[in-house]
């Protein structure tokens, strides 16, 4: 039996936010920083992004080539598995659809699953269908400014309909896989898919 701490409410959401909040979340106006390691600071002169087929075929963009691709502006709510949600965050980035089309022209074939890999070794797995058709981006501006390193700059994956650990900071590679393989947190007790509206926080939820 767990005793109630008299008068303790924790961080609660203001009234009215409820309908916009997935179950178990609270609204924050801050942008909390969660990190599993030191913040990498890769100079743009050496930064690149790679899309890789299961057969090893790859397409690579330097920073200048990457930001020259057609951009999109995105305003979305984001939901962290540690229970904060932030409404109306504004980003600018390149749609994964755009990257896949450009990569296809260089012989890169997609597959059903994607492993995102970041500077510092972080990984996360996402089904391809959750990154395409306007569901996923690689974002490099937050608000109207370059994405700060503590929030994943120079560029991070943005998959706002899944818990935010799927939106890998400091992303450098998307590798297409025939078979699903768990990433950093997915192999340590967190849910493989991570839908906030179904509250898929942990392995076995649902």
């Amino acid at each position: 039996m767990t005793p109630i701490s008299r008068g303790f409410r924790g961080r609660r959401q203001p009234e009215g936010a409820a309908a916009r909040l997935p179950p178990g979340q609270y609204e924050t106006r801050d942008f909390p920083v969660l990190s599993a390691g030191p913040t990498p600071r890769t100079p743009l002169s050496v930064w690149d992004l790679t899309l890789r087929s299961p057969d090893g075929q790859s397409a690579r963009w330097t920073w200048d080539e990457f930001v020259a691709l057609p951009r999109e502006k995105i305003t979305v709510d984001i939901h962290c598995v540690t229970k904060w949600s932030k409404f109306g965050t504004s980003w600018e980035g390149i749609a994964i659809d755009t990257l896949i089309s450009a990569a296809a022209a260089r012989g890169v074939k997609t597959a059903s699953y994607v492993m995102a890999r970041s500077d510092g070794g972080y990984t996360t797995n996402v089904p391809l269908a959750d990154l395409t058709n306007g569901k996923g981006w690689i974002a490099f501006n937050y608000g109207d400014a370059p994405l700060p390193p503590e929030h994943g700059g120079p560029a991070r994956l943005l998959v706002p309909h899944l818990y935010f650990w799927k939106s890998a900071k400091w992303v450098r590679e998307l590798r297409f896989m025939e078979n699903d393989t768990p990433g950093f947190w997915e192999s340590l007790g967190y849910h493989n898919y991570g839908d906030p509206w179904r509250e898929q926080r942990y392995a076995g939820d649902e």
Partner: protein, 106 residues
């Protein structure tokens, strides 16, 4: 020879962590590790699988923000231990440690 034992305040009196000190030291891992192991591991020593350096677990670097605890080698930043707690389980990944040596005395 001097023996210096250090501890970042983030887990001393101020348990609510200031954002400017994301990194803690190995003492911060003690509570979670005690959920898995009976002996206190922070007084033990771990050998990093990445670079082979051996250190007191209490002297390793800990990143502990929400999802779990990632214990890294101060020499190479490689992950030595990972621990996450879900409502019903504690998950431990020690692939990054070649060995963990704990005193047999108690």
């Amino acid at each position: 020879m001097k023996k210096t034992t250090k501890q970042s305040r983030a887990r001393s009196a101020a348990g609510d962590r200031p954002v400017d000190s994301l990194r803690l030291d190995g003492n911060a891992a003690a509570g979670m590790l005690r959920e898995v192991f009976v002996p206190d591991l922070t007084a033990g020593r771990a050998k990093c699988a990445g670079c082979g350096t051996t250190r007191s677990i209490g002297a390793l670097h800990v990143y502990s923000h929400g999802m779990g605890m990632v214990v890294r080698c101060p020499a190479c930043d490689g992950v030595v231990l990972r621990v996450a707690r879900t409502p019903t389980r504690v998950w431990l990944d020690a692939r990054g440690a070649i060995s963990i040596v704990i005193s047999g005395e108690n």
